[in-house]
């Protein structure tokens, strides 16, 4: 399965979540898998890209059709629990940015 999200015609939304993990797993892996599956079932979900290095710094960008889709996902009860545990257990620090994608490209062309 590709680790790249599709490239629909803009505009759409990107949620850029950058996070430094704590050392403890404490259920993180299972929850991350569960949230990825749950997100993919939500209306307006367009895809996700995620990676994390050995030092525990991860960037996850999820893509959504519109503001309604963002709001629904943010407020979903299972996701609210995951957010709470993230704050309490899993992340030393994180930033979250909501951004409207205006244009997009892919490459390399012509290889």
């Amino acid at each position: 399965m590709s680790r790249f999200a599709p490239l629909p015609d803009p505009p759409y939304y990107a949620v850029i979540f950058t996070a430094q993990r704590t050392g403890a797993d404490a259920g993180y892996g299972a929850m991350a898998d569960k949230m990825a599956g749950l997100a993919a079932q939500q209306p307006g979900y367009l895809g996700v890209e995620t990676t994390r290095d050995e030092a525990g710094l991860g960037i996850t960008v999820s893509y959504w059709a519109d503001e309604a889709a963002l709001k629904n996902w943010k407020q979903l009860s299972e996701h609210l629990l995951a957010q709470k545990l993230g704050r309490e257990r899993w992340y030393d620090y994180y930033t979250l940015r909501v951004a409207k994608v205006e244009r997009a490209y892919s490459g390399p062309e012509g290889r």
Copy 2:
């Protein structure tokens, strides 16, 4: 040094670059360092966040004050060379999205 970019008041721009590396280094590490240093010297540069996993999937998000800053960085001659080598040598596939950051948060609060 923090691996998180600052959080200025929106709006500003995010360039989301997701890329699968080829196996070959072929000067990649040195060029990546050079480009990071060069980007940081450009007008309108706000910061960068970058990470890559063991499988070679990387996400780099750079932040810029406005469209003029984006355009300047895209067209800078040394950066054009790096882009060319990226297409020819370093990336199996990549996507690049330009997005306008509308709001941003950080956490965890209250720890």
